[in-house]
């Protein structure tokens, strides 16, 4: 059991020691990085993607306040994201109509306020249960709000949603936020602020008790804490930050519609947070960046990118439940012990069979796509520059060979990797870097 805990990259003393150092340097570096990114990635598409990543980071971090920090699995976090977007849009429109001297910069606050308000409203009822029941309740609430949004057309604008114009508010420094780069800087500023605030929360007594309630809510009672209150406060603060993310989204798209409440939206943030790693603070940041990038890139390459996402998610749940961040942190002691390069070599050997399996699987999936409902359009398809028919026996045979051969080789290589891992761990253990 101790091995499982040490090697699965769970939230460990590593997290507390990061906090203890509290280096201002990291925040300054992050600020510089965010400021400098547009200078490297100059194109319009890149700027849009960076903006989306910024929003996704805030959303995912807010989600992890529930999942990773307090152990609450929610399937309906998009409610607060969507409500934040709608309230921001209405706030902007109201400010324009009433000619109020409020700059666009402050508008995400309306989103945050909405997220907080509704989290308080729904939170007490939601947090009456924990665990699986809480997850189901969050799903039910999301459906309730999503369906209500189609009924209450005056506020939610029906299927078309509500639009706004972000350039019409009070200008600061002659920025009207028309160009995407200006929107990016707005998002980046709020992103940095949100990250800092959410990180600071983890260092408070409340934040520590969230972790305690996650680990053992019964014991938390026996040290004087009401777990429901802890969860409720976490729920409210998490809703607030989700609302801020929603507000930024509404500014970015100049639109708020009911798709924001959808199960897809709630599912995406769960995917991003989990794949990034729920057990570490930076996990959701990694996940948000990766998932946003893949979403935008994959949807150009294949029609069934969502299937790939689902499979990636299942693979993470089964083989790397600590997510990307967990995998990286797991190697921390080994890197410090200087044993990382040998281990990476073993990984490289494993990479080849895994690549074979991946290519085989992609082949099968893409061929199925062209044989299924799309067969009406003809079964010729193109992959890696080669055109062929989805019905060809050769293609299917090739896919099968790739899957079987890759799978078999992977099994063999796995033993080497496991042995290499044990050796590397041994080295780290000798140097006292791990237990």
């Amino acid at each position: 059991m101790s091995d499982a805990i040490a090697t699965r990259g769970a939230t460990t003393a590593a997290q507390t020691s990061i906090g203890r150092v509290a280096p201002w340097g990291v925040w300054i570096a992050a600020g510089l990085l965010l400021a400098g990114l547009p200078l490297v990635f100059r194109s319009g598409t890149a700027l849009t993607m960076l903006s989306l990543m910024g929003i996704a980071i805030i959303f995912a971090l807010s989600y992890n306040m529930l999942l990773g920090q307090t152990g609450m699995l929610s399937f309906g976090h998009a409610v607060y994201y969507g409500l934040g977007a709608y309230f921001s849009v209405h706030a902007i429109n109201w400010a324009i109509a009433a000619k109020l001297p409020i700059p666009l910069l402050l508008m995400p606050l309306a989103g945050g306020f909405a997220g907080l308000l509704f989290a308080v409203l729904f939170g007490w009822v939601s947090t009456k249960r924990s665990g699986t029941a809480f997850a189901m309740i969050s799903l039910g609430l999301a459906e309730l709000v999503g369906s209500s949004s189609l009924i209450l057309r005056s506020f939610f604008g029906g299927e078309e949603g509500v639009t706004t114009n972000r350039t019409k508010l009070l200008r600061l420094f002659d920025w009207n936020f028309g160009p995407q780069i200006q929107v990016y800087y707005l998002i980046a500023a709020w992103c940095l602020l949100s990250i800092a605030l959410m990180y600071a929360l983890t260092r408070t007594p409340f934040g520590r008790m969230c972790n305690a309630v996650r680990d053992n809510s019964e014991r938390a009672q026996f040290v004087g804490y009401n777990p429901q209150v802890v969860r409720f406060i976490a729920f409210c603060l998490s809703g607030m930050f989700a609302g801020i993310a929603g507000g930024l989204a509404s500014i970015n798209f100049e639109l708020a519609n009911s798709a924001l409440f959808s199960a897809v939206q709630s599912g995406n943030v769960l995917l991003a947070t989990f794949i990034g790693g729920a057990g570490h603070f930076v996990g959701p940041i990694l996940g948000a960046v990766l998932v946003t990038y893949l979403q935008n890139m994959l949807s150009d390459v294949t029609e069934v990118w969502q299937l790939y996402f689902g499979l990636m998610f299942i693979a993470t749940v089964m083989y790397a439940p600590g997510g990307l961040a967990g995998l990286i942190m797991m190697h921390g002691p080994i890197w410090r012990a200087g044993a990382l390069s040998k281990l990476l070599l073993a990984y490289a050997v494993l990479l080849v069979p895994i690549a074979l399996v991946a290519v085989g699987a992609v082949l099968v999936i893409e061929m199925m796509t062209h044989l299924g409902v799309k067969a009406a359009e003809g079964t010729t398809m193109k992959m890696a520059g080669i055109t062929f028919d989805a019905r060809s026996w050769l293609a299917w045979a090739l896919a099968l060979i790739l899957l079987l051969a890759g799978g078999g080789l992977a099994r063999l290589a796995w033993h080497r990797v496991a042995a290499a891992w044990d050796r590397a761990q041994g080295v780290a253990r000798e140097k006292g870097l791990t237990i």
């Binding site: 059991m1 101790s2 805990i5 040490a6 769970a10 939230t11 460990t12 003393a13 507390t16 020691s17 600071a200 929360l201 260092r203 408070t204 007594p205 409340f206 934040g207 520590r208 008790m209 972790n211 305690a212 996650r214 680990d215 053992n216 019964e218 014991r219 938390a220 009672q221 026996f222 040290v223 004087g224 804490y225 009401n226 777990p227 209150v229 802890v230 406060i233 603060l237 237990i435």
Partner: protein, 259 residues
């Protein structure tokens, strides 16, 4: 003859149970327990397996609701209170099956146990390290339970005996006046048990202790008074000498154990 005013003043017991009953469906587990533990006393509860000792602890600490009867902490009734409220009134307990925060570090485990009593409560607007007293007290508790060297490790990787020590540390960190320990030395070697007993004696100085134990040397070495629980009823209650000499107890329990 009239009594002196000091003697007439009623001494409120730290912990008191009267007519306590607990049924699980048709099964009666606790069948009318009367127990009084005065302030500052070290009181042991012994009895054969299945007597209901853990159930008794669960009732007193608020994990279970009594079917009938009353429980008083410092004179005030605490029957229907949830566990966290009873804890805030100054009663703390340990568990027979180690119940710690496995992913938090040892330091964090102990620190979390004192956040409420030091007034931090649900504060999310200041750092947990703002109050230096908390770090001091955590350091103190950790040195008491001899886990300073392991303070940064996740609690889940400690050895069994270390976890039991941490369990006791969490129980006492909040400064509770009434401490309930549920088989604290279970599974420990002889040397570990001796250390644990010394620790328990230190931490229960000036506090009220209620301890469930199977190890008779621990019981007779530590307790001021002993109660014997058999099939949900207390068949005898008194000083160690009285209990040792009690024929009912010998028949029901002491004759079976090998110490």
């Amino acid at each position: 003859m009239s009594a002196l005013p000091e003697e007439r003043r009623v001494r409120v017991a730290a912990l008191e149970a009267r007519g306590l009953r607990k049924n699980f469906g048709p099964a009666e587990i606790i069948r009318g327990v009367d127990l009084t533990v005065p302030k500052g006393e070290r009181h042991a509860v012994i009895g054969p397996n299945g007597a209901g000792k853990s159930t008794l602890f669960n009732l007193i600490s608020g994990l279970l609701l009594p079917t009938a009867g009353e429980i008083r902490l410092d004179g005030a009734p605490v029957n229907a209170l949830p566990a966290y409220k009873i804890n805030r009134r100054g009663l703390s307990r340990s568990f027979q099956v180690t119940n710690i925060f496995p992913k938090l570090s040892v330091w964090e485990n102990v620190r979390c146990a004192m956040l409420w009593s030091t007034g931090e409560k649900y504060a999310f607007w200041r750092s947990v390290e703002a109050n230096p007293e908390i770090a001091q007290r955590t350091q103190q508790v950790l040195s008491e339970i001899n886990l300073i060297a392991r303070k940064d490790l996740p609690a889940g990787v400690l050895t069994y005996a270390e976890q039991r020590a941490l369990e006791i540390g969490i129980t006492m960190a909040g400064g509770a006046n009434v401490i309930l320990l549920d088989e604290p030395t279970a599974g420990m070697s002889h040397a570990e048990t001796e250390r644990a007993v010394a620790l328990i004696r230190r931490i229960s100085e000036g506090r009220t202790l209620l301890i469930v134990e199977h190890d008779m040397s621990v019981v007779f070495g530590l307790a001021d008074r002993i109660s014997v629980l058999v099939y949900g009823e207390i068949i005898a209650s008194g000083t160690p000498a009285e209990i040792r000499g009690n024929p009912k107890v010998r028949e029901a329990y002491l004759g079976e154990e090998a110490h």
